[in-house]
């Protein structure tokens, strides 16, 4: 348990070494980065083992170590203001660690091939190690401040990696947009943290805050406000409804980056935060959880619909990520931590698989636009197969992991939430089926639309296909974790569900009815998709013409981007120019310049008193004398 701090430390050390000596290392030090993340991955297991040994029955004892980073005593009653650095390991952390380290390892191996020949190859791996280090710190942090530090560092790394090819104007803009949007979200997070600290037990330690809240320390409206502020941070980071604009644009970055950051790890940080803070959400009045739910739902619906219209394969997958994140928040909204964490665990694998598949397509064909792809299956059989598995998992077809996790979410949504929520989820299943099959069909099947691209395509090398295979396997197998027996087998007493579940044990029952409905709907969606978009996709075209206005609406992403851009240009920049003008003209020339002018003019007038003529001077003297004597006599006598 004590070596838990090593997990983030090794990638951090790798980052420092690469930063300073990177260019001089053989192969620019990519092996060092991979070794570091590999080591972290390996270290997760002893941690898991420790956790399981100490487990007595269903409850697991969380390990925590902390070192004082900074402290000074307040002159009040012996209080001190402390900030610590420490880690806190509990089931949720383990799940997150597993997902992050594994996917990062896969992605970095994949990147060796994908990024070969790039001018800043070394810098790529340096940034990747920094990202890994900060994500792991975020996950392991035991207090809110260290979490916030990791949170911001991850945001900065995403800025670096999205803007990796900063020569491209769009990449630079996308990076800036991502960082600013997440930063606006983080404003909420910071306010939330400080509010919790203010009324709370004068510490940032998460567990103490939760314990304090559970004893009713905070008054509920205050706690709700604090929690909602923190949720704002999660919104920004996980690209939920109001602040989701940056995620589609984040595809400007290299695909492995998208795979790692915008699928498995960073975007999921928001979910982790809410999961970690769920007890607070529950203590606060229900409005908090409803907000989470509503936001999740809206994101699900928007992303699903937008997925239909997007033509760039990476953007479609990005929308699918938004869709899944929405689902996770819906799960959290109905306080189903297991379902959320499970879906997160599973989603990490198949979404990474999808992205890396798309990456291998792009790597092979140098082309991202669906309209110019098609019929690649023959040229790239392995990628096509793996992509198929990923698509099916995303849609949630029976044997694959997507299905099990999605069902968990549906089950909780059905039990806890009103019917409307359940119906919306079901409709989203259909649409997911639609656009995922569209993606698969348009890329891999039927006649190639652009012969040049088709000829150029070739199956990617081992370095790309092997990670695909591993992820494909995981995508299929991971689902079974749901069954307790499988959990037992792997040495988890009472199954994974209990491991992750915080409250009392809850065996997994198989809800036949939800399973059937979901499979039917998802399958129906897929088949409809197949029909619509087969061979020349005439049918899809005709449907689009009929619903033309909706299609354009979707294509322009509900014009949300334009609204934000308008807001920024006019309100924010406009205010800036007005304030700058006000500052220069009113405060500066008017206020400061004005008073100086008064002095200058006073002097100017007084100057002409000096007429140069003697009688005037004599008159001045006499008037001075008279004034003096008269006032003196009047005043004093």
């Amino acid at each position: 348990m004590d070596q838990a701090w090593l997990i983030p430390a090794i990638p951090a050390a790798a980052f420092v070494i690469l930063l300073i000596f990177g260019p001089y290392l053989p192969r620019k030090g990519d092996w060092l980065a991979i070794a570091a993340i590999g080591a972290s991955f390996i270290l997760v297991f002893p941690l898991l083992a420790d956790l399981l040994d100490q487990a007595d029955g269903a409850t697991y004892v969380a390990g925590e170590r902390a070192w004082e980073w900074l402290s000074f005593d307040l002159s009040g009653v012996g209080e001190t203001f402390e900030i610590e650095i420490g880690f806190y390991v509990d089931p949720i952390t383990i799940v997150m660690l597993a997902v992050v380290t594994l996917v990062a390892l896969m992605v970095q191996v994949y990147s060796i091939a994908y990024m070969k020949g790039d001018s800043r190859y070394g810098w790529y791996f340096t940034a990747m190690s920094l990202f890994a280090a900060s994500m792991l710190t975020l996950v392991l942090a035991n207090n809110l401040l260290l979490l916030y530090a990791g949170w911001e560092a991850v945001g900065f790394c995403s800025f670096l990696l999205i803007g990796f090819w900063w020569e491209k104007r769009s990449a630079a803009e996308a990076a800036k947009k991502a960082f600013i949007t997440t930063r606006i979200g983080d404003v909420g997070l910071l306010i939330g943290i400080i509010m919790l600290w203010l009324e709370g037990p004068n510490t940032f330690n998460i567990q103490e805050i939760i314990a304090f809240a559970q004893e009713g320390g905070y008054d509920s409206t205050y706690l709700t406000a604090a929690v909602l502020f923190m949720f704002m941070g999660a919104l920004g980071k996980s690209g939920q409804f109001p602040l989701h604009v940056w995620l589609p644009d984040a595809m400007e970055g290299p695909t492995p980056v998208s795979a790692l950051i915008h699928a498995a790890t960073m975007v999921v940080a928001g979910v982790y935060l809410v999961a970690r803070m769920l007890p607070l959400f529950e203590v606060a009045d229900p409005i908090a959880l409803d907000v989470v739910l509503v936001v999740g739902l809206t994101t699900v619906m928007i992303s699903a619909t937008m997925g239909l219209a997007a033509t760039d394969i990476k953007r479609v997958i990005a929308y699918s990520t938004l869709n899944s994140l929405g689902l996770m928040f819906v799960a959290l909204g109905s306080s189903a931590v297991t379902a959320a964490m499970l879906y997160l665990f599973v989603h990490g694998f198949f979404k990474a698989l999808l992205f890396l598949g798309a990456g291998s397509v792009i790597h092979a064909t140098e082309e991202q636009d669906m309209n110019r792809l098609g019929g690649l299956a023959k040229k790239m059989p392995v990628t096509a197969a793996m992509f198929a598995i990923g698509t099916l998992a995303m849609i949630g077809i029976i044997p694959l992991s997507g299905f099990w996790a999605k069902d968990e979410v549906l089950v909780f949504a059905n039990e806890e939430q009103p019917l409307i929520v359940y119906l919306v989820l079901l409709s989203s299943l259909v649409i997911t089926g639609l656009y995922m099959t569209r993606l698969f069909v348009r890329t891999f099947l039927f006649a190639p639309r652009d012969q040049g691209v088709y000829d150029h395509a070739h199956e990617s090398g081992l370095l790309i296909t092997v990670p695909l295979l591993i992820l494909g396997l995981l995508a299929t197998v991971a689902g079974f974790v749901v069954f307790d027996e499988v959990g037992e087998a792997l040495g988890f007493p009472g199954g994974i569900a209990q491991f992750v579940f915080l409250r009392e044990a809850h065996e997994f029952e198989f809800h036949l009815d939800t399973a059937i409905t979901s499979t039917v709907l998802a399958g129906g969606g897929a088949v409809a998709g197949w029909i619509l978009w087969q061979n020349k996709a005439e049918l899809a075209a005709s449907v689009r013409d009929r619903f033309a206005p909706i299609a354009t609406l979707l294509a322009n992403r509900y014009y949300i981007d334009e609204v934000y851009q308008f807001a920024i240009d006019h309100i924010v920049l406009g205010a800036g120019t007005v304030v700058a003008w006000f500052d220069r003209v009113v405060v500066n020339d008017g206020g400061v310049g004005g008073s100086a002018k008064i002095g200058y003019l006073a002097g100017f007038e007084a100057k002409f008193l000096q007429s140069g003529r003697l009688p005037n001077y004599a008159l001045a003297i006499v008037s001075g004398i008279l004034l003096l004597s008269i006032v003196m006599l009047v005043a004093l006598v």
């Binding site: 900074l70 307040l74 009040g76 009653v77 630079a172 990076a175 500066n588 206020g591």
Partner: protein
Amino acid sequence: MEFVLLALIVIPLAVCPLFMLIPSQYPQLSRYLAALAGGTLFALSVLLFAAYEFDGGSGLRYELQWVWLENIGFLGENGITFYLGLDGIGAPLVLLNGVVIFAAVFVSWNIANRTKDFFVLLFLLVAGVYGVFISQDLFFFFFWYEVAVLPMFLLIAVWGASSEFKTFARTKEYGAMKLTMMLVGGSVLVWVAIFALFVEAGAGTYDMTVLREAALDEDFQKVVFPLFMVGFGVLAGMWPLHTWSPDGHVAAPTGVSMLHAGVLMKLGAFGILRVGMTLLPEGAEFWAPVLMAIGVTGAVYGSISALAQTDLKYMVGYSSVSHMGFVLMGLASMNEIGVNGAVLQMFAHGAMTALMFTSVGALYDQAHIRDMTQFGGIAKPMPRHTAFFTIAGLSSLGLPGLAGFVAEFHIFVGVFEAGYWWAGVLGILSAAITATYILRMLSRAYFGPLNEKWAGLKEMRLGEQFAAVLLIAMILLMGLWPAPFINRISETVEMIPGIAG
């Protein structure tokens, strides 16, 4: 160690005549002398910072008291004494000054015309700043405060640069004159306040440790504190009186604006803390809400107007106004966390702005324009420069792991603790706006496709790079391991009367 403290003032003053002796045909010689002097000052500052530890008493270490004027006229027992002493708040700022002067010397390495006069004035400025940070006597506090302002006019008027903008022009003489006049104008208020304080205390001495004990009555404090607040506020870039800072920086040469924004603006805030809040606690308490309001306006106002600037130096100028707004907010929170945050922010902002000015200066020296809209993709020809500027930008927008965050976090916590939740929210918002204008500038000027016109740009000079590395070291030191700073500052802040728990 006392004489190390004395050396901080003596070296810069002693080096001035030495410069005079060097014939002006050998600018290189005067540059080496400047580097040597800068180096020794830096070393001494680091030594002092490291050696300082709180010893229980009044937190004042290495005291050195020479009677200057005593028992003459209105002056009683040790009336005016040349009283040097280093305390917790002074130590980090002395370190900051040492770092910034050492960096400034290297940045102004290629000042060609009248190099030795430049360095004479620069070191005079530094002597003034050191004097303020370590003098415990109110007379000498004001004496060095004015010495620091003295060379500003010539530094900007002679070596500065005029600039034409579409709608208005800012000649360097205008910038220099406005800056000097506003600072000295501010110091008039301080002067009057010192007179009133001396008469009211009736102790016949300017020794601040004695004046601290003098129980001044409440109404007097309420009347005199605003004088100190506004008087020092002008130099601290307080909101309505801040207009000299952007104009001054645009006109000033790089080295001077580094020292100026990096250290001189801290003099104002330091003044409010050391003289205003320590000697007049009730007054400070009474006026705290007003100072908070001004601080917040400054912060938000500064960051919003920085958003609209196209000139790089104007942007950095307004960002300094915004960050100094944070400092004032920290001071106004009147509780220990907030004031600690304010002192940390003074140090952090000092290092950040100095780094920003180094980079902008380096760019300006080669490109001779500062309009960021005309640049594009200069990260290609100047990668290191971009890295330095990005680090400075990130620290100013409060990325954890860099100095900015540690300071701003304390200020926000302090402000919330003191109950001004509206100020806290606005403050954090202005930090977000800072992120916007910094990143907008970075993406527009540095990233994106390379504008062919600037293909010829070369990397920063070695001297500038050394300066930048030095400053980054400070930013990272405070960002990653702020304990040494906090321990020193918090004990002394605790001693200040009127600072709540």
